[in-house]
Amino acid sequence: MTDITASDAARVRRVDVTSSAAKARIRARYRREARFKLYGLAALSLAAVFVVVLIGDVLSRGLPAFWQYSLVLDVHVDPAAVSSGGKVDEASIRSADFYPLTKAALESMFPGELSRKAQKQLVRLVSTDAAMPLRDELVANPSLVGTTVKTPLILSATSDLYYKGAGTQIESREMRGIATPSGTSGEITVLSSANDFADALVHLKQRIAEQARSLRSEADRLELFAGDTVTARVKALRDEAEKLQQRVDQPKVEEELDNKMPSLLIAIDGGLMKITKLSDVSATGIVLLPLRSTDEAKPGTWQLVTYETPESNRKVTDQDVAFLERFKQLGHVEQSFNWTFLTAGDSREPELAGIRGALVGTALTLVVTLVLCLPIGVMAAIYLEEFAPKGRLTDIIEVNINNLAAVPSIVFGLLGLAVFLNFFGMPRSAPLVGGITLGLLVLPTIIIASRAALKAVPPSIKEAALGVGASHQQAIFHHVLPLAMPGIMTGTIIGMAHALGETAPLLMIGMIAFIVDIPHGFTDAATVLPVQIYLWSDLPEVAFKSKTAAAIIVLLMFLFVMNGAAIWLRKRFERRW
């Protein structure tokens, strides 16, 4: 033992707590402490923010898709259109072409002369299968044939989105002069007795100046960054701004309106004209909605209408907006819950597409998965936990199961493709194969959960059973397994939730086909909800983005319900030994 020598003792120095240096040091240490704690909190908050943003994003995109606008019109059902061979029955109604009926009903809304182009655009406002509700109504009640039925027409996805706010802001200003239109359709000119158009021109030029200014400031900002692409863009911006500025610098010169500017229109004599050329005395343009007459319009009875979003920045043309706004004014537009989304199969038209096929496919697939992996998983767990001889072989099985749980899911897809489809020749795209593949995927999860549940049952229960003369198996199946069942069920639900959200392996075995029909059996071609989401998210139509998000909402709801059930089960049957 080392003795404490004099020099040791002399060096004894106690921790200094009183000097200012010591105080500063301790303050610094506590600052570090606070900072460290803050990092942890910040990390958690960031994860929470991400979850909230993600779910908020999905909800805000998807919720509108659960509602649908439709156009309620009086449609005259011409018996000739829905009969075949002079007979009207269910088959003839189902196979009838409703296009002429719909077209007639739509055109009756706009008395007066519509251009051919406008007529075409009018029909495109509704879905290709717009009369689906009418058809169903007629099938249910054939006596309506020959009468005029008030029925909802399904709007096209674009029109639907317009009513949901994806159109443009509309401003309307009363004019002061007396206006005289030169015609009721085609290209016309409107003259005003006051200097209304001069004001409008000044206003327009101001807007152009504003635009030039914002282009210049964007160019200035971009110049702060280096790079070839940046230089090119800056130059393009400056040129564009210069061109606009030239137009502003000539205040009296008339303006041609293009589709990069907000659209200006004149509402007069019950019609609507889109201005193409504006001078300080007159406006020339094309009639979108026919005028009743060429009567002079008194001050205050005609308006200058502005569609704020430039035509090139929106999906709907000025003509569409004019039609749709007129429908709304006349009260023909109704909003209702979008049952089609839940009851229809897939479709190329967003407004007709639904998730029923995917839901049925998911249910079939999950049934196969459950039937496969629950019994096998539980029995494997019982074997490993109770009957397996402790040794190398069991160790290997155990390591193997743990590893299998971490194998990428797409690899299971490769297994399904190579073994089930190519080797065993099972049908492609079928819920049977999908279910088996997913079953193998979640099997390790269920085995691990079941083993944990079996292990949690205290050995005394088993010993008690053995003590009264039960065999090992009787002790397990009569006593231990029932007590472990809640834990096993919890694990199974979590495993099934996992299977429900899985996509990649199903792509491999072809459950990605475009399938309109609802599958009826385990070997029919089908798709599942996550794959449907993937398919829709890839489509270019804006309306499908919203449908995708809506399908995600449905998927997440199922997942929340399943996980909620698992939590409930755990809480309800939680037992402390």
Binding site: M1, T2, D3, I4, T5, A6, D8, A9, A10, R11, V12, R13, R14, V15, D16, V17, A21, A22, R25, I26, R29
Partner: protein, 273 residues
């Protein structure tokens, strides 16, 4: 210088032994500890002298460890634990809200029941305290502190060639001496030892006991022990705890030869415990 310091230390010890307790280093007054609703310690009052070994004995669950952990406020780490009463070190209340617990623990070192070296090198284990408390100003300085601490703990000769090896690779006795070296590296005023030998074999125990005997010249040591023989061997004063109360406290020889309380008598003669 040599003789002077030694003499001084001895003088203090002798004075304490002679005069009983003139200036206690640690003093507790009416200390109660509650774990939630349960009262684990009842009105404990005791004075502990500097430069000497005080041992706490008593049966399991009697509150001796709980009381020990009050002295460096380790009980703060248990959320449901609540301490009332007053404990002072050098007349300073350690439960004063203004007092910083981190600095308190630099003054009151602790050695635990199971050796718990950090999973780092031997050097880093010992250097840890001086480093976080800013005790050294240079690498050479730190080397010196590490060496002298290991020397004081009687471990230097065994480990000087493998200072960079992991502290967890040593034998149990060495690990415990490393923990002691770690504790004395910051030169605390008080060292608390919570059954430091209970996980060790007899030979390792003997070495630790020798070490404690050596250290008492410079530190105030409080040791909780299960073994009455150990208390008799290493301590100058002994306190007997039973069911959360301090039954009796006094010079070790007196407690073991002539206990005043019947419960103490029963315990040391082995009638329970």
């Amino acid at each position: 210088m040599h003789t002077l310091v030694d003499k001084h230390a001895d003088a203090v010890v002798h004075a304490n032994l002679a005069a009983g307790l003139s200036t206690p280093k640690v003093s507790a007054k009416d200390v109660n500890v509650y774990y939630g609703e349960k009262r684990a310690l009842m009105d404990v009052s005791v004075d502990i002298p500097d430069r000497g070994v005080m041992s706490f004995i008593g049966p399991s669950g009697c509150g001796k460890s709980t009381f020990l952990r009050c002295i460096n406020r380790m009980n703060d780490t248990i959320p449901i634990c609540r301490v009332t009463g007053k404990i002072t070190i050098d007349n300073q209340d350690i439960y004063d809200p203004k007092l910083d617990v981190v600095q308190l623990r630099a003054r009151v070192g602790m050695v635990f029941q199971k050796p718990n070296p950090f999973p780092k090198s031997i050097y880093e284990n010992v250097a840890y305290g001086p480093r976080i408390h800013g005790l050294s100003h240079s690498k050479a300085d730190l080397d010196e502190i590490v060496q002298s601490s290991l020397e004081k703990a009687g471990l230097w000769k065994e480990v000087k060639d493998r200072l960079n090896e992991s502290g967890t690779g040593m034998s149990g006795g060495q690990q415990q001496r490393l923990c002691i070296a770690r504790a004395i590296a910051v030169n605390p005023e008080v060292i608390l030892m919570d059954e430091p030998c209970s996980a060790l074999d007899p030979i390792a125990t003997a070495r630790i006991e020798e070490l404690i005997d050596e250290l008492r010249k410079n530190f105030c040591i409080i040791i909780v022990t299960h073994s009455m023989q150990q208390a008799a061997r290493v301590s100058q004063r002994t306190a007997f705890f039973h069911l959360g109360t301090l039954v009796e406290e006094g010079p070790t020889t007196e407690i073991f030869t002539n206990p005043k309380d019947k419960r103490t008598q029963d315990y040391i003669t082995g009638r329970f415990g």
